[in-house]
Symmetry: C2
Subunit: 423 residues, 2 copies
């Protein structure tokens, strides 16, 4: 049974608080006129990690935290990640050390109210790989792009199928997304056209962040050790561009407009009590992909769509346990060739669709490629995203009375430019 | 008519010299106990750029060149690239300035004999995108992987088809390559196996290096301006892994063991006289891909295979003019979605196959997927690469009496590890 670690900061103990002392997610914030730097969410505050380090309360060079990303900290390795987590818990727990708690001035300096801070992308994305590891999504998308008979190729259950995405297009939560132009071919025409995408979509994903570099193949059993934490991901997708471009080398520009990441990285340690089984069966897998403990997480995701008029509709509810392959299995497969993984690599789970109509992770599935329009609260319908629509993804790992929140992953779609070449 | 720019360094004027004053390619070298830093090939020497900058002969902070990559210099922009090229020509031409030539001690410091230097990967690869833009290669490979009828999908002539590769696996010339293990499925078996690749191949490519970042779509006409220079590329490929993994998202681990780049980046300016037409026709293209001047280069490539016993065989001779789409067209397509390009992005041309059996850019084509073994000088045959084989790619842009060399792009294939998980 997971127990709340009670803090002397009352907000962190409030029932339903998404950032209790059990969580301690990593973010990047700016406040008080300082440039963006590393912070940790606690209750309704952000802990300014550099201030604690400067005060000698964390045995880390304060410069490590005076960066607009957590990559320098990640590079210090898993022992340091765990040590700093333990130190933070000792400093903030009700029955912990007095070192910080009794220094009123230091506390004021070290704690920044979330409402006074702006959040930024919490890490620098080295490379981005996107997988395709929900069976429900693979079957549904394959059925719509091809046919139910040819939906899922024979390799799918033997390996986590993935492709390399584009790190340069990964943006932080809140960044507005411009509807792209692209090359697409209408079914009733012979020649392709260059037009704004008409089928712009979101994809609900969970990203794993590589915190330890690798050099040579790593098994799924060992791959868990290289993961620093998890972050919400919305992999925006232009379905009409995707359909026309994907043969034979896979998606390319359809996925390159933007990928939005959430504003907090939840550490692997905070998710430990949420481990859950499911997904692939070892009997069906080659040894390098086999895992011998629960390898998925019980994380509830919710996606809301808010049209420009402002009324939100929850359009899907899904859970990480619906995945077939875990991030550790994905990383294991990614290294089979000897491909080096590096600190800051982002590993997208792939769209997290569940088995029901209410748990589908993108509009392609929710609207059956536009054939079953989705009804919104305000009476409008959606096949794909309209200009002005905002998509918000949230995630909570509920551990009995403890809620581990992932913060938000938001983005609003702006209308396409009239002419993208005279912008 | 391209004329040799005569230098006071006699070696640079020698007939057939690959590094005359017309060339001035960018490399990274270490010598005299110094860590790797920026150098420029001239005759049989390397010009130590930082030494010239320290002496006040280039108006650039010497720190820019005291790096193990040219990225910091690239980021200074095209005007600086051209200024420094003009300064170097003025300093080294026979009828140029006396500033360097007459300072014997400075000359000794600034010029390092190539035979005393070790060469390194000349730039830091930000992201790597690989295209598929030789019609001959697309048709041949598609015929072998699928069938001649289904060889090339209908999108192919409308856009440069490409996929994102893996920057972490790009290595410098001379790096030994370990034959990978991977998941593959033998045609006579139902279940896949995890084994060393049996069909390990090279791919002859030319890489373009992005020197200017972009934000928003760029037309092919304008995309030429963002290119810093060109480099030889060998995109090692495991064909058996590729066959099994590529549906539906394209190649992944088959291309992730390693990609070798050459040791010199040839500047766009040096290649200007080698521009040649051919490739796609504007009439067939959407406006953003149209180009109004010769957009390919007359560069002769040669690939040799050297078995471990040491006798080299030239296995192919090809030329960049056989391409259908140019790097500028590839970058233009890459940005259609709004995808940002960044300094140091590597854009692979795709395998450069010509129309004849002697100009095919990989063993998959040369041996017809193993069905037509290739004879070597020493009497041996090759379907794919054997352990110990070395592949060397060279490139020369012949401009009348002036030879613009690309240096070497070498790699030797080592045998697979007995067990990759106990390395």
């Amino acid at each position: 049974m997971t127990k709340l670690i009670v803090s002397w900061l009352p907000e962190a103990n409030r029932k339903g608080c998404l950032f209790p002392l059990n969580n301690l997610p990593y973010g990047v914030f700016s406040a008080r006129g300082n440039p963006p730097r590393c912070g940790i969410a606690l209750g309704s505050d952000i802990v300014d990690a550099a201030v604690l380090a400067e005060a000698g309360l964390l045995e880390i060079d304060p410069l490590t935290f005076q960066q607009p990303h957590w990559n320098a900290f990640m590079a210090l390795g898993p022992k340091v990640w765990l040590d700093v987590r333990s130190r933070l818990i000792a400093l903030f727990r009700e029955d912990g050390e007095a070192a910080l708690r009794e220094q009123e001035q230091l506390c004021r300096k070290a704690l920044v109210s979330m409402s006074d801070a702006e959040l930024h992308k919490p890490f620098s994305v080295t490379e981005f790989t996107d997988f395709f590891s929900s069976w429900h999504h693979a079957f549904n998308a394959g059925s719509l792009f091809r046919s139910p008979e040819d939906a899922v190729p024979p390799n799918w259950k033997h390996m986590p199928i993935g492709y390399n995405g584009r790190a340069s297009s990964v943006v932080g939560s809140g960044t507005k997304i411009r509807r792209p132009w692209g090359q697409l071919k209408h079914p009733d025409q012979i020649e392709p056209v260059f037009e704004p995408s008409r089928k712009f979509d979101f994809e609900l994903e969970l990203g794993a962040i590589v915190g330890t570099s690798t050099n040579g193949p790593v098994t799924a059993e060992d791959a868990d050790d290289v993961i620093f934490g998890y972050i919400l991901v919305n992999d925006w997708s232009a379905r009409d561009i995707q359909t026309w471009e994907s043969r034979p080398l896979g998606p390319f520009q359809a996925k390159a407009t933007a990928t939005t990441v959430g504003n907090w990285i939840v550490s692997k340690f905070a998710l430990e009590p949420s481990r859950t089984g499911g997904g692939s069966e070892n009997d069906d897998l080659l040894p390098y992909l086999q895992v011998h403990r629960p390898n998925l997480y019980d994380i509830d995701f919710e996606v809301t769509l808010m049209p420009e008029d402002g009324k939100e509709t929850t359009i899907t509810r899904s859970n990480h346990r619906h995945m077939y392959f875990s991030a550790a299995q994905q990383i294991a497969h990614h290294t089979t060739s000897g491909c080096p993984m590096r600190v800051g690599d982002l590993i997208g789970s792939g769209t997290i669709s569940g088995p029901t109509d209410e748990s589908l992770g993108c509009l392609l599935e929710l609207s059956q490629n536009g054939n079953r329009p989705l009804k919104l609260q305000n009476g409008a319908v959606r096949r794909f995203l309209d200009d002005g629509d905002s998509i918000r993804i949230t995630g909570i790992a509920q551990q009995q009375e403890v809620s581990i929140g992932f913060g938000d992953c938001n983005g609003q779609l702006l209308s396409a430019l009239h002419d993208p070449y005279t912008a």
